[in-house]
Symmetry: D3
Subunit: 278 residues, 6 copies
């Protein structure tokens, strides 16, 4: 039972596209015919996914030569060649679309993230993603967020505690929920509590929450909450974070801003591949 | 070796989110605690992915009751409850995000597709997708395109022949490429040839191509090509198809318009889930 | 989720034979003992499966040297050595039976196919296989048919449309069936309709079928059907195709003859392996 | 890591035939349309594989009703209906070919085995198969041999010791080979030695072999060997066992006759399925 | 790609024991023969693994009735029947050893843990396990520790930060290491630093470590460290924790004691199963 | 469907420890930083598992250099370095615990086995293990028993026949059970019968059992049984075999002594790894 989400996704991607065989290329291109390919940006972007693209081609032809002229996170200009690949022509033709499909999405998230960050440059706040990611892509999308320059919230439900309203409801109170979970999870886990009101903020503080998430509060409410918390817990704001609201939120003295839009609202970047048979 | 792309993706999605356990819910919510959940649209949309959402919850609690008040492809209004789920509360809490992540993306593609279709209503042209899909999601995204009302191009490289410039280059000529592949693929496969110029269109006709793809041609060129082809092959136009160009292309008497934007440029729809512990 | 039917079958074959270990060889043969093996034909045959045999030994000893003195599809005489293998003796002994089991069956199909083809040499008709293959072996058996010189019908239910009587029954008429499926499948798919009578042939023509399969018709009926169709669709004959009937069918001016016997009635060829410890 | 060769083979068989979807049936037959199917023999045969056929349909429609009117190993007459299936029509249509492909091969082996057995009826000798089976099918083919009435040799290299000439060559002598392996394998394993000459038979007896395989000996040599062994070891004859030689071998007072032809030379039986939409 | 460590381990366990079939039971016991089994303790113990035992039998016979007369974590007396199972006799016979093998090890860890806890009853310190678990068993062994009454340290390398000497060496200093990792991991992760000396404790405090692990210190050193830390970080002691040292350590005012011996030095408990054919 | 229990267990072990990433090492150690590690024994032991440890590191860094200064089964002194590893530092840090967890358990079983054997040195009896192994570890634990110098009983239920009381009960008598199973299993399988009394021993002899297991008999009973059997079957004693009883049992003229304690009562050996960044 190998745990390899990325390798599994690449195999699936190749499998769903190639199935039992690329009937055009397999029948027209000789196995030994060599070629060269260049992947280039068709618009300015922050590149991400180079190693995934490498693995796509390597799985089709382990002898392929794959040279990246940049690193994930680099700013790329329109028309710039980012990757050069040499090897069996049929591997280039068969892998082209899958490699581009990975790059266009990952670069889209990195580029989107970078543009969010540019709005809060120099401000002392941590911009993080959420769990609103494409199913099957969690690790790659969170990686692309880091390539864009922001940071990650928890990876999933297994590596971070976030107590929401329904958890509170079945536990009786915030105090009881925090106490119960503190006794059960590892001493390395901080406990975050979602608060919808100042009353809940106060209860979370009483309960000893390490982090308090202010959910869908307006700037006024956030200001009051921050004042109330007064450094006794980390403060995260969440909900309706977009390019219009980000700057305002970043000036409210909060520690963390989480934005689902980093991943779910990113547009695919335009990249293409030119192939030259030898 | 089971071939089940959708089941595999759902398992991966649950695995990447839950890992060895939802440490918040597992420790706070009793195994037997029951609850009810409602998934609702936060904006007008075309719904898609209902059965995938069902499977997400069924895999967490096989006894769950999952009732959809609509079918994939239906038009949903803002605020409308589309799915009601009853069963173990921890399954609802643990599965919520994964189910929504599937629905928001699939509905996004269906909604986007429907809006494209609305622009060419009543016109005698087939709007199809491309292979520019999210890796791992090919089958689901092509399904969402159909839910939106459009049609699919080939699923992948294995079930349709499309001869591109590089295939032609290594084959010598369009004629040789078509002849070679005709002799090798099943008699059930039509052969499509990509043409960048009228000269190539002519060669493709000579070679007996069943379908000719006019790649990145402008309306004038397309008109000429259609005239030249004159019903001897199906005509597909591809490249730069967006909401601005679609209507114009649809009036050029072509048979098929393919648009990568149906899948790769779709925005996630906003859906949420309300959970009520019993 | 890797899609690799051949690799999967080889692993299964090794697994079912070796299980947790070859208790004779593992205990008697030293890991470093080297040897050489020769695979030879015990009767005249068309060889097929060389690369599969290579993979069998490579998976047991990646350093093994595997030299084929011929290519799939070659005519081999009795006694001829076709493959020479050098490497770890225990890999030779443990892999021998599995490699031979692949070769004997694949060569059987290639040889059988070649003998069918010899009966219709020079005639302008395409001989194809069917879906009557050994479960798990579809890709290998269809490959062996091509090695034998014939061509493939569709690989499976996913890459070709064939409308049979029951499909017609539930659709109302051939016309409705063809229209419905034309609107749903990709524009790259031809549509084949099975016809048991001249009346059905006529309906299929009316419906615009691309290919008409004449099922279990006698030569007289076939002649009439071909005359009726008159080039408006491709004509396939199917049913009771064997070495006795093949020539007659090939003279009836049909386009395609499909024969399940190519795969399901092939006899295993006799090959053996001589091993020489160093 | 589940060990389920049969389930794995059925999934592979369905996967290679259906791939991402049966494009004819899926588009023409309504999900809820019901039907009935009858599987019948087109020639006299010994049936085998009923449960495998059941699993094929159950995996496509878990609610299907599958009624077998006979048991594996039963003698079936031409025209006899052996299985009746009721349920979703699309499951019947999609599963038909795969189920028949299993039945035709397994029944072929059972029928072939039964005809071998009929030649040695009442004789005190054990007829067994070999490892010359279709890769991936070991367990099913050995099962079909038992359904035909014969017995199995070892399943594979892991559950029985058979010392061949090359094992002897690298061990120095039969004596050393037997001693070495006796010290290493479980006390529950008998040790079989292949002998090509009377000299080797004598050496095997000296070495304390539990079973001696007389390989490719003629009847005269076998008689002498049996006399020499005189009950001190079990005697197996192997090589060139076919319907012509079987009776003679069975009268030579040997304990076991092994015949690769039981599996590798079996002809597929002719079965078909009639489907009735409701 | 399903993430199911426990299900995978159960399948592997059944696979490695049963392989292609239980040749004793399959040949002697009729498929329909029913029976009853009782699993009983042969010595006093804390039971753990009931649900795993249930799954073992359920996978062999989904209709089996499995009744546990106790819960994981319960104290069981010698001779007490803990589980009663009714169903197909062959499932009972084939599953017996695997089910007992799970129970004997898991109960061993739970019993061992409970005996450790009994030594520090009423003391305000958290006893936790380590990563010294049996490969493949991490989740089950950590579960058994909880069933015994103690708590878990991090599950693995992915859900908790522990900076050791080598991490410090390559980072330059504790301060740099903590700062670097704080900037990269989620805001929900506490940061633990291993300290071998008071000097390192001081550096860890300066660096803002959330938890400090005193590694292999003697009681005097620990006392000084605790005094120095003075509540500014949680204190974990680790190394040479056994039944002799546990009480002393528990009186040193530390927060957490981690003991690899909970898992790696646990003795298997003696349980057996009585089976009654009906 | 690859059958690779050891590779599967190693992957699972790495997966359960590393999950989606070693968040300490990945963030602090540069991908290119090199290092060296030494695995040493902290107490005298018989080493086992060297190749498993190699595979652990190779899977994390295929370029790693892994040098073992000894072989499985060697006697190691306290403080002795047994393995030296050079390569990427992060592979060393991330793989350390998993490699040690394999070595500590396998060496524990080898060491335990060797100490049992030392008690019966020079005596003509075969000491074997049982099926009381850690689920998932059958092959590795049986291997460690051989590394310790003892021998294996059957690997599982598939490669050896052992008729127990319940098998007898449902078969009518020992005679019927032996006859039935003899007719069904391969002629290479010996048949072992469990006997609880002299009466059963006599019945097993009558039935022609090849091996008789004397279950939980005391020395007097065993003596009588051995006398009664008088070389007509192999004699195995089982039950309550420990270091106190072993010598006595070994002097009773039995052929085989089976001891579950070899595997289930072995204590983990203490090994550790020193890592030196370059």
């Amino acid at each position: 039972m190998k745990i390899d989400f990325i390798g599994n996704l690449i195999e699936t991607a190749l499998g769903e596209d190639i199935g039992p065989g690329d009937i055009t290329t397999d029948h027209l291109v000789n196995q030994n015919q060599q070629g060269r390919g260049e992947i280039l940006a068709k618009e300015p972007l922050i590149i991400a996914g180079i190693d995934v693209a490498r693995q796509v081609f390597k799985r089709l032809d382990s002898d392929i030569e794959f040279i990246a002229d940049c690193n994930d996170g680099d700013e790329i200009t329109a028309g710039q060649v980012v990757i050069t690949i040499s090897g069996r022509l049929n591997a280039l033709l068969t892998g082209e679309r899958t490699a581009l499909n990975f790059l266009q999405r990952m670069s889209g998230i990195a580029t989107n993230t970078r543009s969010y960050l540019s709005l809060i440059k120099g401000k002392n706040v941590r911009l993080v993603d959420t769990r609103k990611t494409t199913p099957g892509w969690r690790i790659l999308e969170k990686y692309a967020v880091r390539a864009g320059g922001a940071q990650n919230h928890r990876m999933g439900l297994y590596d971070g505690v976030l107590i929401k309203d329904n958890h509170i409801a079945v536990s009786g109170s915030i105090k009881e929920a925090v106490a119960k979970i503190r006794s059960k999870v590892s001493h390395l886990s901080k406990i975050e509590v979602e608060a919808d009101s100042l009353a809940q903020v106060e209860q979370a503080l009483d309960a000893g929450a390490d982090v308090i998430m202010l959910d869908n509060m307006n700037p006024e409410q956030i200001k009051e909450a921050v004042k109330l918390i007064d450094g006794r817990a980390l403060v995260e704001v969440s909900g309706n974070v977009n390019k219009k609201t980000l700057e305002i939120l970043a000036d409210l003295n909060v520690d963390i801003i989480s934005a689902g839009a980093l991943t779910h609202a990113a547009r695919s970047m335009d990249l293409s591949m030119r192939i030259f048979p030898e």
